[in-house]
Symmetry: C2
Subunit: 209 residues, 2 copies
């Protein structure tokens, strides 16, 4: 094998070894059996399969491989920046800066052509403008909703999460798929409000606005 | 939403909740930091990214989305059948039957059109005939090689694995990508033989054949 091929493979394998660390980044959501919390790599794997099987409901036609790739790689920044809980308002203030720096370092381990592509894909996800980015965002919100529902709201209860917070977090979920959002609201959110696992503060919030 | 759409989504979400269990199926390989073993979902996530970035080395042109999908879903059978260690000769005798039964149950949770497709894709992976199945198999062998190398052969040493076993396990790795196999042999296997992390029995084995 010539030297340039070996150097290219060396960079690719350096990246693969580095991203192994994503498996140790814990999220707030619990697995369906509620035995332990989920990690970022598991979350990405789950969403990739969901995307392949749910793309039929996308509002706009999506490139499935592009969307899957986006979801598989978008949380790698957390290797440096850590997981910022969806309802951690303090953490979210510095999140963008921390993650942008991480993206440059981590995707920068790859050969330049591939690193540039992944960095662009990560930015596309963050900007939420393209059909793929919108659908990926829908998956990123729906997957933890599903796990929260399956664990009787364990993570919501631990953090005392209110319905208004969930609705705010999901303000753009219908942008990727109106149909999935309708289903999620009816099957994954409302029953949990009725059962008291999500604090029902919507009337209060509505008056406030 | 009409009833048939809701029923379809119900089946899809039942499948998504069921496959969450793959995150609890432990493999023999350790994560790069050697803190704990890897699970099937993490393994699949890792291989999916590797496929996207290494498809350029495939012997034959591959459909990347098809290969990624194959890798994301191929270990779901282990939810029922358990993980069979690559060097567990007893377990491997009953593996095919156990896994075929599991495949029918698990993919069968999906709406029929999608279940049929995933079952066919799983079989295609098992048969190792198409370019996608061959490349997926290459990833399935290379990813744990990489982790074993990164953890100074921890799992090999625990099980007293011999070089001949690794070579036999990798008998078809070059079928997906000769270039990746050459790289792996030189960078992920040979250095570990030299360092005594893999028992060097090739001369003995060669005489025996």
């Amino acid at each position: 094998m010539d030297n340039s091929r070996t150097e290219r493979l060396d960079k690719q394998f350096d990246f693969f070894r580095e991203i192994d660390k994503e498996k140790l980044i814990e999220r707030q959501t619990y697995l369906t059996g509620a035995e332990r919390r989920e990690n970022d790599a598991e979350h990405a794997w789950h969403m990739a399969i969901m995307t392949i099987l749910l793309s039929e409901y996308a509002n706009e036609k999506i490139d499935v491989l592009k969307t899957v790739t986006m979801l598989l790689i978008h949380d790698l920044v957390e290797i440096d920046a850590g997981d910022t809980y969806a309802y951690d308002e303090e953490g979210k203030k510095t999140q963008a800066v921390r993650e942008a720096k991480a993206a440059e370092r981590i995707y920068g381990l790859l050969p330049e052509d591939q690193g540039t592509k992944l960095l662009a894909l990560w930015r596309e996800f963050e900007e939420r403008r393209t059909p793929e980015a919108k659908f990926a965002r829908t998956m990123d919100c729906i997957q933890p909703l599903m796990l929260n529902d399956a664990t009787e709201g364990k993570s919501w209860l631990e953090h005392g999460i209110r319905l208004s917070q969930v609705l705010e977090r999901n303000a753009n979920t219908a942008d990727g798929s109106k149909e999935i959002w309708d289903y999620a609201r009816e099957h994954l959110i409302e029953p949990n409000v009725e059962k008291g696992r999500l604090r029902n503060d919507t009337i209060f919030e509505n008056n406030l606005r």
